[in-house]
Symmetry: C2
Subunit: 410 residues, 2 copies
């Protein structure tokens, strides 16, 4: 075995992690004129591979997450342009659809829960229209006659995360090659990243100069963006005293094929509360539907039999014809959760009143990674350009690290 150290690679911005957030940041960085390198042994294979791709700031509003709402709404507003530009750049269909969402309740308690949620939503100025269950069934004839409540939400949309990731990867390689003269293997480096490089190797709060890979390659960059989901916690070389309180929240999710005689199973995205448990059915244009998703903190990475059972059971309560679909895929992946369900996004305090130069973090997007991709990419690129908006400081990745005395807590 030879032990030659590979030559270092110099790039403008290095992004660690090729999930949807890392991909979105790399794309936006390239659009801003930067030469980029994305590091991931297997891009878009984590939560992005599982995600249903709902762009749903309204349905996803949870109590006491009003801070997050400003972010999800900002991203939602960016989605049409983001999708249009990417489609124009690549000529690929990323499954961006603006069909509406129906929020549904199964029993009387679910109806009450849905009513409470609607109050919170309308208090925030969001539009949620009550419709009768009869109207809902005129819109979607496959709905069970036994649903207890229905709300129409026109602001929540969808994208196909796998198609989206593929389009971004295609675009990154094309611009890398054609504009920057970078080999595809150096735009996307399929090697594991092992740690940050610092100007002063002995000082983890000194400027970050790039990243070290598992094969010994050093990648030098002006900015290093850590966007590797759960892998960010405990990543080698992070500033001392930085706490990234990430935990895996596993989700089970199903893909099913709708047989010809049941098409369309539904035209709207359905989001139900069935005896207190959430379940959704997202229709795709290829005559498949996505049914999801559980939220497990049991640490089991595999597909949960109980989770699959629950999803099929509850989806059938809303749409009895689900029993007649073909189950084509069962997937489980971990979402990177945080204590306040908001992302860890931005620069990191060095403890001296300034931020660590050259380092940005973008992780902890939990159930909102796809929705938040455009705004996360925008925020990161504004910070790179020195134009960070203080409004987003509340999502700084050092907000759980009092020892670093970030501005928010100063």
């Amino acid at each position: 075995m030879s032990c030659t150290v590979p030559d270092p690679l110099s790039t403008g911005i290095v992004v660690i992690g090729g999930g949807i957030i890392g991909l979105g940041i790399a794309l936006e960085a390239q659009r801003a004129g930067h030469r980029i390198t994305l590091i991931d042994p297997d891009p878009a294979a984590g939560a992005t591979f599982a995600a249903a791709g709902m762009l749903a700031p309204v349905s996803e509003l949870h109590y006491q997450e009003e801070d997050l709402l400003s972010l999800t709404l900002a991203s939602s507003a960016r989605w049409p342009g983001f999708a249009r530009t990417l489609a124009a750049e690549t000529g690929l269909d990323i499954g961006y659809r603006t069909t509406p969402t129906l929020a549904l309740g199964a029993d009387a308690a679910d109806r009450a829960a849905l009513g409470d949620l609607r109050e919170a939503q309308t208090r925030q100025g969001l539009q949620v229209d009550r419709v009768t269950t009869r109207e809902a069934r005129v819109r979607e004839p496959m709905l069970s006659p036994n649903i207890s409540a229905a709300h129409l939400i026109t602001q929540d949309h969808q994208v196909d995360p796998r198609a989206l990731a593929k389009a971004i990867l295609t675009r990154l390689a094309a611009v890398g090659r054609e504009r920057d003269g970078t080999e595809p293997s150096k735009t996307l480096v399929r090697v594991r990243a092992t740690g940050l490089l610092h100007q002063d190797p002995a000082d983890s709060r000194s400027p970050v100069t790039g990243v070290l890979l598992a094969d010994g390659t050093e990648i030098h960059a002006r900015e290093t963006i850590l966007a590797n989901g759960l892998g960010a916690a405990g990543f080698e070389g992070l500033p001392e005293s930085l706490v990234l309180p990430l935990r895996p929240v596993h989700g089970d999710i199903l893909r099913l094929r709708v047989p010809a005689h049941l098409r369309p199973l539904t035209t709207a995205t359905l989001r139900g509360i069935v005896r207190g448990l959430p379940v959704y059915v997202v229709p795709r244009e290829d005559d498949t539907v996505v049914i999801g998703a559980t939220a497990r903190e049991d640490g089991n990475p595999g597909v949960s039999a109980g989770g699959v059972h629950q999803l099929l059971r509850d989806a059938q309560v809303l749409l009895p014809a689900v029993a007649e679909l073909e189950l084509i895929e069962t997937t489980a992946r971990a979402r990177p959760g945080t204590p306040d369900n908001a992302p860890l996004l931005g620069r990191v305090a060095a403890g001296d009143g300034a931020d660590v130069p050259g380092l940005l973090i973008a992780t902890g997007f939990f159930r909102h990674g796809v929705l938040l991709t455009p705004v996360a990419a925008h925020i990161v690129l504004e910070l790179v350009a020195g134009r960070g908006d203080p409004a987003w400081d509340r999502f700084r990745p050092d907000r759980f690290s009092p020892a670093l005395k970030p501005k928010e807590y100063a």
Copy 2:
């Protein structure tokens, strides 16, 4: 594209179809000294791939299938020797296990159904021991406290059909090469068979001389055995007026991994009736379990969402901990069903009082293919040797073809 016709291949016995029945026949033929050729583009990929491998003449007894019982018991008696010999020949573990079976009822009606079945079983001289649900739970502590009835059946065993098929394929290739000097590619020919060859090509009741393959190869053989499951119906070149009334009965079946803290989930094979629906849980030594199986006549080849839901739901009624297992595989395959649920096995009348020389059929094994493999192979080889036992004439493949006036109906 070249259009040269390949040279014909001469063999002793050609077996069309590499499911478990074809494999068993090929193995037994080779053991009897014949040079064999097995034809299948993708052996052991059909019902054999799905099958749980229960060797269960007692549990599988159905009303008005007493004829079939003589066959299942005869095969059950052959299994220990069959398994031992194959293990000795190959050194491979085929998962043959003689652990007992617990028949379980969920509610009061299931208890009554199980009691009726036990009466039928004991009337046939089969041993089925009532145990209290408390005793059942001492044996299998993971059982639900809410089961209504339990019967212990020590005569029903199991094998791993995938391991079994692999062992037979390994053995066929080894003996073909070492004893008969046949290249592995001519012991197992991975090409689709398209039709039977006849001595008189114009007379479908004239002696069968082999088989034609999709690539144009002719395989000449002294005996041609049609063991290609549902593909046998309508196979080109079958004797005129022969009716093979096969229909696909699709089954969904699950494989799950038992996490360490739940091992063993069960040591016995569990066969439940849960609110009238059958479900079984077969434990494997690799800490997985097989949960099956639906029986659908809807013609849908894919995995049924409703079927998966039903299996997970009903298995959890017997074993609540099933919810905590990892779902690692969902599979659907078609079993070849017949009007009387018994196989189509033996020679075919030529309509002149004699049988068509050179042709044997072995299909329609429905839910019993793995169990019946040793006896089916034995019966076929006895017929090849001219020593057919008239007791098995009741399973002749021409029994639904009155125009052929087979002896049974003469």
